[in-house]
Assembly symmetry: C2
Homo-oligomer: 578 residues x 2
């Protein structure tokens, strides 16, 4: 291994992996309270509840463990509390809002952890905005003390920011002056592009340790309202009422319970029910097999509600999300994720039809929004992504998005012409009798799942040729065989079984042989053609610069600012501007 990076740090309490599953009853840092239309999310960090050994979470600072609870709470708001019409985001501690990401945690974390921690917190903040935009559930943020660094970045994800005007409470992004790093959770992008703070004001703000308070914070657009301490609680209540009144949300009935996922961890992988992960650690691959539905869709929306978290599209989305996060944070050595599927594409299509038929139901909407976010998480996963479309697979509708999210796809063509095999049977490459590989598209592929660039995966794919996109669109509802899929341009290579094994093996070996960093940078550039959005800017411009700085000796060297913070010793910098 070339010039070792910091090793992975031991998890606290003898845990062996970062677990993204939690539930409100187990939260140590957040409280989720529902009072009629108003949901309140309170941050009250347990200092002793750090995810890793070696630091305490002082001053409502956070680590990945804290953010996992927040992400869980947001999912529960979506699915368990459809009546909520506004979220109040606040601190559970007096006179402090949130001090941001814990500095000791950052100083001791491996580069891979730091980068993936920031990616997850960014996805969670984007999720807060998606909750408002897609689900009609706005967030108002009440800052009762100082919101510094990641604390202010959390506030920036809200629709409305209130700051108490007490002569000391402030908003601040002190990362650069204090730690020689950037606010890496979207702060710079949201200051520039969401709040549209004038660039010289932003420059001043981001280089001022103590931040900005009171009227200047308001004048400079850093907050939406400053409120005297004596009126703070009443104003929060009033604003919550106003936002709730404007919300288009509010289902008639109750939500559904997000039961804990059923997972079986073995040395070789994880089985989830609708999905399985198998590791080939020598080959540095993780194979994720998505399983089609075991039963036809329910007869009605009521029956779907009764199924709740067991409803196949929801179960699969939650399992895929957990599997991707597990690989990201616990299996750093995986070079490539291989996607496969098994099932009957016609049954998957039946579910797509069910979702379309009930497209105005809050639950089907939430399920599609969840898939949208999970697929974005796949796009942003820094592992090579490949889909193998084999006989017996069911890449149809929503599942076909996995094909388009992949860096490449390989599709096995029948050895005999499809016509001769009757179109539904034929020899698989292992001599079994599975039906030949097909891909099938539905309306969802052309509208429901925008990437972070704002375009669908198919629109991004056919950026050069909108007519080709229209041709593909006309094929909705058909089971497309390998020859047709290649002709349409929706798979990379269609191969017969003479070439299949060698081509796939060589590809995966090649991927494992390349520089992991080079691949990360390459894929981050090639996956997102077309327009940029605030979201894509966060993951491209901001994250890339932050990753760079997270490697620089001025931050992480023995004399660097992140290492020396709190030691009383000043950092020593290489003064060359790069």
């Amino acid at each position: 291994m070339a010039d070792a990076d910091a090793p992975e740090r031991p998890l606290a309490n003898g845990q062996t992996r970062v677990d993204f599953q939690t539930a409100p009853a187990r939260y140590r840092h957040w409280k989720l309270a529902i009072d009629g239309e108003v949901a309140t999310l309170s941050l009250d960090v347990d200092e002793k509840g750090a995810l890793f050994e070696g630091y305490e979470l002082k001053l409502n600072s956070y680590d990945l463990g804290v953010d996992i609870e927040l992400a869980d709470a947001l999912e529960r708001l979506r699915f368990e509390h459809p009546q909520a019409r506004v979220v109040v985001l606040r601190s559970g501690k007096p006179r402090v809002f949130c001090a941001g990401a814990n500095i000791r945690m950052l100083a001791g974390a491996s580069h891979a952890h730091k980068v993936n921690f920031c990616k997850f917190t960014n996805e969670t903040r984007n999720g807060i905005e998606d909750l408002s935009e897609s689900s009609g559930l706005p967030t108002i943020c009440a800052i009762n003390g100082t919101a510094a660094g990641g604390g202010y970045e959390l506030a920036l994800a809200a629709d409305y920011i209130m700051l108490v005007d007490d002569g000391s409470s402030a908003v601040a992004l002190p990362e650069l002056p204090l730690l020689a790093v950037l606010p890496g959770t979207g702060g710079l992008t949201r200051v520039a592009d969401k709040r549209k703070v004038r660039r010289d004001h932003a420059d001043f703000f981001c280089t001022t340790e103590e931040g900005v308070k009171g009227k200047r914070a308001l004048d400079w657009r850093l907050v939406d309202e400053v409120v005297p301490g004596s009126k703070f609680e009443n104003t929060i209540t009033a604003r919550a009422k106003e936002f709730a009144a404007k919300s288009r949300r509010g289902a008639a009935g109750a939500g559904i319970a997000l039961a804990a996922l059923t997972r079986t961890f073995t040395p070789g992988g994880v089985d989830y029910g609708s999905l399985a992960v198998a590791f080939d650690r020598g080959g540095r691959t993780a194979t994720i097999t998505l399983r089609g539905p075991a039963a036809p869709p329910p007869a009605s929306a009521e029956a779907m509600l009764a199924l709740g978290a067991q409803f196949w599209p929801l179960a699969l989305a939650r399992e895929l999300d957990d599997a991707i996060l597990h690989i990201r944070l616990n299996e750093f050595d995986v070079a490539a994720i291989v996607f496969k599927s098994s099932g009957d594409p016609a049954e998957v299509m039946a579910y797509e039809e069910f979702l379309d038929a009930n497209k105005d139901h809050w639950l089907t909407q939430e399920i599609r929004h969840l898939w949208k976010r999970v697929l974005k998480r796949v796009d942003l996963t820094s592992r090579s992504l490949v889909t193998l479309i084999e006989p017996g697979s069911c890449f149809a509708g929503t599942l076909a998005e996995i094909v388009f999210a992949s860096d490449r796809s390989y599709m096995l063509a029948p050895s005999l012409p499809a016509a001769a095999s009757g179109g539904r049977s034929g020899r698989g490459h292992d001599g079994d009798n599975k039906p030949p590989a097909t891909v099938a598209l539905t309306a969802a592929n052309f509208a429901s799942f925008p990437m972070s660039n704002g375009l669908t995966r198919l629109a991004s794919r056919f950026l050069a040729d909108p007519a080709a996109l229209e041709t593909v669109k006309a094929e909705r509802g058909k089971l497309l065989d390998a020859a047709r899929a290649q002709q349409l341009g929706i798979v990379t290579f269609a191969l017969d079984d003479i070439d299949w094994d060698d081509e796939v093996r060589v590809f995966l070996e090649e991927r494992a042989s390349f520089s992991p960093d080079g691949l990360t940078g390459l894929e981050a550039n090639l996956r997102f053609a077309g327009p940029e959005t605030m979201e894509s800017k966060i993951f491209a411009r901001l994250s890339a610069w932050q990753n760079w700085i997270f490697q620089r000796p001025n931050a992480i060297g023995e004399q660097g600012a992140l290492k020396r913070y709190g030691t009383g010793q000043k950092p020593v910098f290489d003064t060359r501007r790069v």
Copy 2:
């Protein structure tokens, strides 16, 4: 200094600084030939002509010195050859086009040099595109062998790419598989966003050492035409004729000669005539003082042509460009560039009026396009930028763009109210009798100088408030004093002389105390609010990822791919995906 980066390498032939000034008679690597409407730029690199010691430029590979000649040739095409209507970009060597950036050069360069080398080559390629878009002079690229890495990236800047179809010539981006770095000169962005290559094809292409040739290169949109060897020369001639016929360019008369800049280097700075640079090496600042015109504008376009390179707006733009590049590549320790100006704003405004009155003349157009590019170069300079607007300064029209390109501006307000001083006189902070500081805007500030995001600096500045932009626009032509300028929001701080010295000193000391890397990342995020373009994507997403990779041990460590290339030893990678 924290964990030292590679030191700066010695320049070849005992040179003491990288010099961006050259002329066709001194070119060692490029030939510029003009034949009627057809300009031919031929790359024929002198292996022994490297800029630094320690490597040879084999196979038409390049270093910064080669690219300085290309950038010079492009300026000469603009100003000296207004009759040219098409550029043929080709190799002067048989069976090889260009092997890209020299690997030994990259392996031994300091991080600061690598990053600034890539920035300059990117600016030059963007300049090729600007030549087509703004000056109506398209480039066709004739690839007679293999165009690899930066060689293909150079081709990608052209409007039309021809590849000889001889069974071996190919286009390739082998950086990742060979060197564990990215194609860093816009290649990934242009493949995805200019040529709109399908992402799976792009993935295949960028991970294949030998590249893609013949029909596949055409089918995948990597080139525009493949041509049999026997027809190659005739086809180049034919295509040149076609592009020339469509060009809107073609001035009636001759061009103007770009005479060598007159520069006086001293230990403390550089004097150029219309501009001076003064270094405060202890304070880590470079002060650039822009001097207003010494004479009124010429009486006519003919008189402007007669002045040629001595015409003040042209002279100043060329000098500013050279000064910025000198600081970037030779003065890495400069933390902040302080812009000042001296002169009569009314005289500057008179030049603006002259340019407007002659706005259809090819030379005024080229001058404004040059300013556009130079100002973009300022935007992309990774040093803190501050403008000090003091009595006797002349930040008017084009020069006012410097104020808006800065991270902050400070403007000295008169000690007495402006009204009492008659508006044109008053005490300066040093007790002299200079006229009080003013800023003045012209139509050019609202249209002529888009940033890389496609917006003017004022539009970017007032992204939050288009009405404020309109208010500012209504003030065109007026000399705006400090109070009014601050009220309008076009300067950051207006200060009286009681606060001036301390505020400015503290700001500059603070800037020098911060992490140079942190500032680079911060400024790269805050300077470019609003939309993204292919150009801004190159400098944000692509450059930031490349900079990250240029720091990673997998590339630059002793066992990394860049260091081990050509040694016969395979690189050893840290396999963690980040």
